[in-house]
């Protein structure tokens, strides 16, 4: 099912009496989510992503704007009539019910023609339990399960009534690092096999990048960029998106353009055809550095960290906004650690220019 948001705005009354006006959690968001996709709603904490999720689930009512599921306007529809499955960050499993009881819970509330017998409910519950691979734990109580298992039960409970839309709020944040990797693959697999349009909220860009078909980057209640993970990484629309995505993070420099050349620290480091003379912010991905003895970009060498697959050269540059630059280069490259400085060539595709004040991307021709 396709999901459409139209000029969605959510304001909360301000609790702080000294500040006038409402808190705008979601600010005029318009968006279209194609049918059957796994969408990562990504942003720093407080950016309005959870509010957006709650607006979709119907737990919150928007101040302005509309929400469409397919062609149906569901804006004023209460949560129970929207056909959404919601997985909470803390899973919200009922501690007094067994796994079976928890998964059956949504089915018990069906009324009229949809009403199921106890046996039908248990069959359906077992079916989804098999899908998320917890069918051996049906008689356990939630406190007898590990975090990963609880997570699966929560997903099974959300899936059992065959929702039109599955919403996951920070689904991996309560799991340890290893389980997180495993579970995100699991979410991907479950989403593929059910084909249900799924939206998950996360503040972890790696999580979003790794499994999403589509990433929505939000900040301060507004959408900054929507796109496929690789597209967003390769072609960020503004400085925020560029810095938010990627580990190690992108390096940001105070720079200027003169005569279609990019100057960092007074040295011309790259040709930037079509860019007018101005002070700008330049950002270089860690993999955008190429070791070259005659390279135009010179930095003060700190140390070299060998990571097996590749090498990260830690160095310093006075125009960099961060303390250290981490250049990632192939492990076969030889860095002369005896020297005080190291020289790089910059890969044009990995260097992005942004407007100094607005942070908007300035595109280079060619």
């Amino acid at each position: 099912m396709k999901v459409t948001l139209q000029n969605l705005t959510k304001k909360f009354p301000n609790r702080n009496k000294k500040v006038k006006g409402d808190v705008i959690a979601v600010d005029d968001v318009s968006l279209e989510i194609p049918d059957g996709t796994l969408v990562g709603l990504l942003g720093p904490s407080g950016c309005g992503k959870s509010t957006t999720l709650n607006l979709l689930s119907g737990l919150l009512q928007p101040t302005e704007g509309k929400i469409f599921f397919g062609d149906d306007d569901v804006t004023r529809l209460p949560p129970e009539h929207r056909g959404v499955g919601l997985v909470f960050q803390n899973y919200a499993l009922y501690p007094h019910r067994t796994v079976m009881g928890n998964i059956c819970f949504p089915l018990e509330n069906l009324k009229g023609e949809q009403k199921l017998t106890k046996q039908q409910m248990q069959e359906k519950a077992l079916e989804v339990a098999k899908l998320v691979q917890i069918d051996g734990l049906m008689e356990r109580k939630p406190n007898e399960l590990s975090g990963g298992q609880q997570q699966r039960v929560a997903i099974a409970r959300a899936l059992v009534k065959m929702p039109r839309l599955l919403l996951l709020d920070e689904p991996l944040s309560n799991l340890d690092a290893r389980l997180r990797l495993q579970t995100r693959e699991e979410i991907r697999r479950i989403q593929r096999s059910t084909g249900i349009t799924t939206i998950f909220v996360t503040h972890d860009q790696e999580e979003a990048m790794s499994i999403s078909d589509l990433i929505i980057v939000m900040k301060d209640g507004a959408i900054h960029q929507v796109g496929k993970p690789q597209e967003i990484y390769d072609d960020p629309i503004d400085l925020f998106v560029a810095t938010f995505l990627g580990t190690p993070p992108i390096h940001v420099f105070d720079a200027n353009v003169k005569g279609e050349k990019l100057y960092i620290g007074g040295k011309a480091v790259l040709d930037v055809p079509g860019v007018a003379d101005q002070d700008i912010t330049a950002a270089i991905r860690p993999e955008g550095f190429e070791l070259d003895e005659n390279g135009a970009f010179e930095a003060e060498l700190d140390r070299v960290e060998v990571m097996g697959r590749d090498v990260s050269v830690v160095c310093r540059h006075e125009n960099c906004q961060a303390d250290a630059i981490r250049a990632i280069i192939p492990s076969d490259a030889q860095v002369d650690t005896a020297k005080a400085t190291v020289r790089f060539d910059l890969k044009p595709g990995k260097v992005y220019l942004f407007h100094k004040e607005t942070g908007k991307r300035i595109r280079v021709e060619g």
Partner: protein
């Protein structure tokens, strides 16, 4: 290891000593008294061991009246006060404005002295040459005739006693239940709402199981507390409870020891043992029922 053990016993000694002298010894003593026949308090001697004390107590009309009163009191006030407290707590947790003010008001009876509250109830219910009391004024307003709640018919007196008891135990229950309700994570309610649970469904399937440990605690302590009722009756009807037909089991025990007809520690002990047996039985039943319906997370 041996040394460790000795240390452990040493730490336990003060508490064990106190409990032994002031709890275990009197308990055993009461049990002995209750089986000693014709015990003379002055000479500290009895004529033998047997069940005569129990037989006497169980055939004493005053005791049977006290048992009847106590049972009526227990089985009316405990469910009623717990139910009303639950309603009040649900109300309190669903309002936002003036919540603290209401909480304070509901808690006031808890910090008020029993006898002072008794006085208030006198004003409400007592018939004097000058006034019929506030309750009667209301009855008169609706066209009924005055009832003497303090010295009148049995049911009227029992009504006042139950009303008083419910009112006195309410604040504590409201306090416990509001905090129990507040500790239920909001996401459970949100999850239930997304899954289309009706309001009553949410109450019975989510709220009630979640607060069941607190509820069970209140029922158990409520039963025990109500079985031990005595001072409330005194506050309302004075010390001569047998005449007022308002005596309770604990009141009967007290009367047997110190009252006008007092000086019979054997009968008092027998009555106390009977009360103990009743409370134990009821508590065991409660525990058995709770196993199925109370969920500890």
């Amino acid at each position: 290891m041996e040394n460790q053990n000795r240390k452990g016993w040493l730490y336990l000694l003060p508490a064990a000593l106190f409990l032994g002298v002031f709890l275990v010894y009197p308990l055993i003593d009461v049990l002995i008294y209750s089986f000693e026949e014709n015990f003379n308090f002055a000479s500290q001697e009895g004529t033998g061991v047997g069940l005569y004390n129990f037989s006497y107590v169980l055939h004493d009309p005053y005791f049977l009246q006290a048992v009847k009163n106590t049972f009526i009191l227990v089985f009316i006030t405990v469910p009623l006060s717990t139910g009303i407290a639950l309603l009040i707590s649900l109300g309190l947790s669903s309002i936002k404005k003036l919540r603290n003010a209401f909480q304070t008001i509901y808690f006031l009876p808890y910090v008020t002295n029993t006898l002072a509250v008794g006085l208030v109830f006198m004003i409400l219910f007592k018939k004097t040459p000058y006034t019929d009391g506030f309750a009667n004024q209301i009855i008169n307003f609706f066209g009924g005739s005055s009832v003497d709640f303090i010295d009148g018919p049995y049911w009227a007196k029992m009504f006042v006693l139950c009303f008083y008891t419910v009112w006195v135990v309410m604040p504590f229950k409201v306090l416990i239940l509001t905090s129990a309700l507040a500790s239920v994570n909001d996401t459970y309610y949100q999850a239930a709402r997304v899954d289309g649970t009706s309001r009553s469904g949410i109450f019975f399937k989510v709220t009630l199981p979640m607060i069941s440990p607190s509820l069970f605690y209140l029922v158990i302590t409520g039963f025990i507390g109500a079985f031990k009722a005595y001072s409330d009756a005194v506050a309302l009807f004075g010390t001569n409870l047998n005449v007022a037909e308002m005596n309770t089991i604990v009141g009967y025990v007290y009367d047997m020891l110190y009252g006008d007809s007092g000086g019979y520690p054997s009968y008092a002990s027998a009555a106390a043992i009977i009360l103990f047996t009743i409370v134990l039985t009821i508590t065991c039943i409660n525990l058995l029922v709770s196993k199925k319906h109370v969920h500890y997370s």
